[in-house]
């Protein structure tokens, strides 16, 4: 029984390993199932569609077709590891797992295997220090930037002082949700506000007690680090206790259409951070429609086009494709390797002019990476939900984070990682 089964499994697994080809192989560790699928599906669709566009319109990047291998992780680290091991042997160029938990797993592995890891807006914040994290890139912005931008926005709202204010942090009780605590604690010391931590356990469908606590404590502002089903539940609960929505700010992972729609009218006025623009008013969508959507080549059900997380997936794909272009330029070859792509990531510069050229003017912030800086400028905007027209509208321009607080924290955390793992600093 066991042996026949093992033999069968052996056959299936051996047969499924595809031989490495000359194409640019990019694994997409996505999740379209489970409690986080509401975030995973649009992101994966945007990611896939942008590469499909490049293949269909330009014949790939530098003449090389891009091959996307999708692997379902269900936001689960064990499945993420399986996906990583299954795809890395086939010439995988870069990983973008859209999960902080899986990112933590992969950081030591990618360094050992020599494959870049690109985690825009998530992952390990201190990976911004390129001196320690050679293979990890998290520009244009990370969690600590987000925490700082949120506080800066609140400062602005309160005439420059948060003295005596109370801010509650509703967070996913995991590596992801705990990331901003350190920054917010530092900022609370600097600006004199009280921080109340309200953890929500995975998956976050049950938050009655947390919102009861918020109703009792009456914090002036609620900041949320949520993901998946937790976002929609939190916004619904906030609406139920009549919490003023304009004082409720989510991180950029808690600000998609799928999070606010279920609460209907109640979500009106909810704010979230945004690291890029959203909607379909960009020229790139003309090409996307022509080459991908109307051609029937859209990823998934094709119903997510133009949404916030679709835009983010597309943005991640865009940065990766630009890094590939850069690597091809540096090394003078179209068929680059993972190690060459790392050089591309490190030398990458995306200007506003380039973004406009790519069909996304005023979409994201310009940034330039270097050997030391893998984190980018970290600015973000604030967007607000309008329930009547079902759209997000940007309330501010890009707000720069408070580097005075963040830089020492990044240095401290990356220094601890370097000491634990005996990593010598680079770039000297």
């Amino acid at each position: 029984m066991k042996k026949t089964f093992a033999a069968l499994a052996a056959l299936a697994i051996a047969a499924s390993t595809v031989p490495a080809s000359a194409d640019l192989m990019i694994p997409n560790l996505s999740y379209r199932t489970g409690p986080y699928a509401a975030g995973g599906i649009p992101y994966a669709d945007g990611f896939n569609d942008y590469f499909t566009l490049l293949n269909e319109r330009d014949g790939g990047i530098g003449g090389e077709k891009v091959v996307i291998t999708e692997c379902e992780t269900a936001y689960n680290t064990e499945k993420g590891v399986e996906c990583y091991e299954a795809t890395k042997g086939n010439g995988a160029l870069v990983y973008n797992p859209l999960s902080t938990g899986i990112t933590y797993q992969l950081i030591p592995k990618v360094a050992a295997d020599g494959i870049p890891l690109y985690t825009p807006g998530y992952g390990r914040t201190s990976a911004a220090n390129g001196k320690v994290f050679e293979w990890v890139f998290n520009y244009p912005a990370n969690y600590w930037d987000a925490a700082s931008v949120a506080v800066k926005y609140l400062l602005e709202q309160n005439g420059g002082s948060l003295d005596g204010k109370k801010i509650a942090l509703v967070y996913h009780n995991s590596a992801y949700g705990k990331e901003p605590i350190r920054t917010l604690t530092e900022l609370s010391k600097k600006h004199g506000f009280t921080l109340v931590e309200v953890p929500v356990d995975h998956p976050g469908q049950e938050q009655k007690s947390q919102w009861l606590q918020i109703r009792r404590d009456k914090p002036d502002y609620v900041v949320m680090w949520g993901w998946g089903v937790m976002n929609a539940v939190a916004i619904q609960e906030a609406a139920n206790i009549n919490y003023p929505m304009e004082n409720f700010i989510g991180v950029w992972w808690s600000g998609s259409e799928n999070d606010v729609m279920p609460a209907g009218e109640g979500a009106n006025g909810y704010k979230s951070l945004a690291m890029h623009g959203t909607g379909m008013a960009y020229p790139v969508y003309d090409d996307l429609r022509k080459f991908v959507i109307d051609a029937g080549k859209a990823s998934g059900a094709g119903d997510q086009v133009g949404s916030v997380l679709y835009s983010r997936g597309m943005y991640a794909a865009l940065v990766i494709s630009e890094a590939i272009r850069k690597a091809q330029e540096i090394h003078g070859t179209a068929a680059i390797t993972a190690a060459q792509l790392r050089d591309g990531f490190e030398a990458l510069e995306i200007t506003e002019a380039r973004m406009a050229e790519l069909g996304l003017p005023n979409f994201g912030q310009p940034f330039a990476a270097s050997c030391e800086d893998h984190g980018g400028p970290g600015a973000a905007m604030i967007q607000q939900w309008d329930a009547a027209s079902k759209t997000w509208s940007l309330k501010t321009g890009f707000i720069a984070p408070d580097d005075e607080v963040l830089v020492p924290l990044v240095m401290e955390d990356s220094g601890a990682f370097a000491a634990e793992n005996n990593i010598a600093e680079r770039c000297n």
Binding site: K2, C71, E72, T77, E78, P108, N173, E179
Partner: protein, 358 residues
């Protein structure tokens, strides 16, 4: 025919009471060992180690542990995930506090720490039984996960609450950390599994195992014939938790390398290991292996067939996979409520007579 006893004479008590009394069975056991130790390490690659063998070996240790408690001693436990977390966090604290001590000792000590915690949570079993005990162990599950999330000392005050295994070596070869070769991971887990399974098999055949089974079958009768319920139940909790703690330590340090307690050791882990022993067969060492193999390999197998071979969309495959695994579990339990172990036993009985059924 294959499993014939005819001509297999035993001339000593030792030979008569050995684990595999039938010669063919014994040869098969040696063949499996030779394959596992002598062939697999030379062929294994990262994918096979990380997706198939290492999780299988680790879950087999956990399943044997739970089988000792639930299958042999009859105490239902839903705290497996929590106890695995104790093993993982104990191992992490030891690894970071005493970096010069061998990882093997840390893993075994982590098992010891878990045994102590297990005994503590086993105390209610002296007063409550069955479903009520299951609820008490469920409390252990939630309490332990909450504790490791809440107290920063357990994760050395890291910003994210994650614990990450630093590199540790045995005989100069890394067994934890990212640079570990696939064969080293595999062999480290295999050696531990081999030793622990051997210990478990012999414990359950000896006096202590018979006491466990006496308690399982009828605790009042067992008490009357002189089995002390206190020491028996608590020893079952201790031994079981030791195994589960070792499994948790390996799960964290060798297999994943970094874990987050809520995600890696949540309630679903408790159920997974419980399903392993129910499908494999309660009260059987072989059943623990079969159940672990079934639940570790089947999803990987289905995923590779559905996505890799048939090219289905990943989300559809993931959903179908859940349905197939669930359906097969129900089917197996209807067809054979005593699990894969019973199927194996029936197959052996048949083979004993084959090809002459009368």
């Amino acid at each position: 025919m294959l499993y014939r006893e005819a001509g297999d004479f035993k001339t000593s008590y030792g030979a008569d009471s050995q684990t595999f009394p039938i010669r063919f069975d014994r040869m098969r056991y040696y063949a499996v060992l030779a394959l596992a130790f002598g062939v697999v390490p030379f062929l294994i690659n990262d994918y096979w180690a990380n997706a198939v063998f290492v999780p299988f070996l680790i879950y087999a240790i956990a399943a044997i542990g739970l089988n000792i408690l639930t299958g042999y001693c009859g105490q239902v436990s839903l705290g497996t995930g929590g106890f695995m977390a104790v093993g993982a966090y104990a191992c992490y604290k030891l690894m970071t506090a005493f970096p010069e001590v061998s990882i093997l000792i840390h893993v075994l000590l982590a098992g010891g720490v878990t045994a102590v915690v297990g005994v503590l949570f086993g105390l209610p079993s002296l007063r409550i039984k069955g479903f009520y005990l299951a609820v008490a162990t469920l409390a252990a599950q939630f309490f332990l996960v909450w504790l490791f999330n809440k107290v920063p000392w357990f994760y050395n005050y890291s910003a994210s609450g994650q614990i990450t295994a630093p590199e540790r070596t045995i005989f100069g070869i890394a067994v934890t950390g990212a640079t570990t070769p696939a064969w080293a991971k595999y062999l480290f887990c295999l050696v531990l599994l081999f030793v622990l399974a051997w210990v478990a098999r012999n414990l359950t055949r000896g006096a202590i195992g018979r006491k466990w089974m006496a308690i399982r079958d009828m605790d009042i009768a067992a008490e009357i014939i002189g089995v002390n319920p206190l020491t028996t139940k608590l020893s079952a909790f201790a031994v079981s938790s030791f195994f589960i703690g070792v499994a948790g330590a390996l799960f964290f340090s060798v297999y994943l390398g970094a874990v987050e307690v809520g995600e890696a050791f949540g309630i679903q882990k408790s159920f997974l290991v419980l399903f392993m022993i129910i499908i494999g067969g309660l009260g059987s060492i072989f059943g623990s292996f079969a159940g672990a193999a079934f639940l570790v390999l089947l999803p990987v197998f289905l995923k590779n067939v559905l996505v890799g071979q048939l090219g289905w969309p990943t989300d559809l495959a993931a959903h179908i996979e859940l349905m197939i695994v669930g359906g097969l579990i129900i089917l197996f339990l209807i067809a054979e409520p005593h699990g894969l172990n019973q199927l194996w036993r029936v197959a052996k009985e048949k083979l004993r007579l084959w090809p002459f059924p009368h």
